[in-house]
């Protein structure tokens, strides 16, 4: 018993090593992964890394330019905003907000969409009809407008944003996962499971779920970028993360106040952060799509 477990874990270790080697050889997106890793690191250790409190500024130090520009100083490397808050510290804590909201929203959407997609695809009949009609209708709503509508109802807070984004984006999963399940359930191993007397519940949990996991992960990676842009847009419009929390979208909204005066760093820097994060997530997602899920290559 023990021996066989050790052998199987060694085999798993070997497969893992083999996979990693294969990953490296086939154009593994090193730079995007590194950028995401750095952003995660920055988000986790924001308290240690940030030189100042991101929510409290000194009004005497308003609109300091970055250190390398005339008038900038070493005490605020990336300058200060309209309330004299340190831009670098706000960007660092903003990474945390984006990461937390982005990951949680993708998880909420993923769990909801995958569950409903499996139910819809496997059970068929009226369950399928109801779920798919709702999915079609919700997909017809422009995502941002729908999110704004929901935000106007429940009010802005970080947790509400997660729920709203989850409610808006689960339909993307449900559609794709359902299609996947429809072809899976015709496969022999599922028929065998039915003959063996597995309940529908067991089949969905033990046979459908593991087989759609790859697709769900690919979708989640691609969705991360979309969700982060939507969060930034909501914050920018004032229905996202409430101030004075340092969210990148919120910083852009504040930056607009100094735009005409030429305070470029308040607009350019948060946008660059969003761009790097979204671009990295998309590149990684694209690569994962080709790697993990040949069926999605055509998408």
């Amino acid at each position: 018993m023990n021996g066989s477990r050790a052998a199987s874990s060694r085999a798993a270790g070997l497969t893992m090593a083999w996979r990693l080697a294969a990953f490296r050889s086939e154009g593994f997106p090193l730079i995007p992964t590194a950028i995401l890793a750095v952003l995660v690191f920055v988000a986790v250790f924001a308290n240690v890394l940030a030189p100042y409190n991101p929510e409290i500024g000194t009004l005497g130090d308003r609109f300091h330019p970055p250190a390398w520009q005339a008038g900038g100083g070493a005490e605020h490397l990336l300058g200060t905003d309209h309330l004299g808050r340190d831009v670098l510290s706000r960007l660092i804590f903003g990474a945390r907000v984006s990461m937390v909201v982005g990951f949680l929203a993708v998880m909420v959407a993923g769990v909801l969409g995958t569950t409903l997609g499996i139910l819809s695809g496997y059970l068929g009949g009226w369950v399928d009809q109801v779920i798919m009609r709702v999915t079609d209708t919700w997909l017809a709503l422009p995502a941002l407008t729908f999110a704004i509508f929901l935000a106007a109802i429940v009010g802005p807070s970080e947790m509400n944003i997660v729920i709203i984004l989850g409610a808006v984006y689960w339909t993307r999963y449900a559609r794709v996962i359902r299609g996947e399940v429809l072809s899976l359930k015709e496969r022999d191993f599922v028929r065998l499971a039915i003959v063996a007397g597995c309940s529908k519940r067991t089949i969905m949990r033990r046979h459908m779920l593991p087989n759609v996991m790859n697709t769900a992960i690919v979708l989640a990676t691609l969705m991360l970028g979309v969700v982060i842009v939507t969060e930034a847009s909501l914050s920018f419009l004032g229905v996202g993360v409430p101030p004075p929390k340092p969210a990148w979208g919120l910083m852009l909204a504040d930056g607009k106040k100094g735009l005409m005066a030429g305070y470029w760093w308040l607009t350019v820097l948060p946008g660059l952060c969003i761009m790097f994060m979204v671009l990295s997530a998309n590149l990684l997602g694209d690569w994962l799509r080709v790697k993990l899920d040949p069926q999605l290559r055509q998408l």
Binding site: P142, F149, L150, A232, M260, V268, M275
Partner: protein, 306 residues
Amino acid sequence: MKRFVLKRLGFAIVSLFLLSLTIFVFVRLTGDPAVLLVEPGASAADLAEIRTQFGLDRPLWVQYGSFVTHMLRGDFGQSFYYRTPVFELYLSRLPHSLLLAAVAMAFSLVIGIPTGVIAAVRVNRWWDSAGKVFALLGLSLPSFWVGLLLILFFSVYLGWLPSSGSGTTLHVIMPAFALGWYFAAAHMRLTRSSMLEVLGSEYVKLARLKGLPEALVIGKHALKNALIPVLTLAGINLVLMVNVAVVVETVFAWPGIGRLLYEGIAFRDFPIVQATVLLGGAMIVVVNLIVDVLYAVIDPRIRYER
């Protein structure tokens, strides 16, 4: 054909029903809809009056019935801020949104189609990779950030273009570019894949065998067919542009529907928010229906497929 159209029409009606139901349910999900429908800071007496006026004390299905019949008559309630019917406001803003969307669409096609064709003709070469990077950037850069950068560069540093407002030709350039940017990438990707498919077809091979110059084969014979899916997508995207421009319109203070939605949020004017979402969704359902039917008219195979 008739059966197909009726079936699609049925789907569209179900979608519109679910759309109104979604909005109706969400408004009532958080407890008291009177709080949303009344102006912020209203007294308890006002709240009670709103409840009887909107019949919020009646059973839910009666409420839903009156909600739908009001909408069908074009009655989306009164704006708190503007003191006019929301539907009138919507219609007065619609032309601005359409203008912006049309110019943005022109931008996106002028950029997207040629780059897509080049990427397809020079597949897996330098041009193709450049096109991929461009498409990825288009899909990754938030449109409002592109807008802000445009303002910074063209209004603040160069002083060439007005940073906000509307009225002259100059005003429409930057918002249209910021809005069209994302769609240009989408159109480029579709042009590329559609062109690649057409270039592999028999009739293109025949045209080449005939000895036609390559420019003529691609520019005339292949392009015509390759553009069909692109133009379909463009038609759907035009409607989408009207409805997703909220951030761009806010950045440039462009008086369209997006800006109306933003004002709805900023002034806590809930009837505006509700109407914008409903009408936006309805518009897209209708366009999808039209596209489906048109496709069935053009291509008989689709009629019998489902």
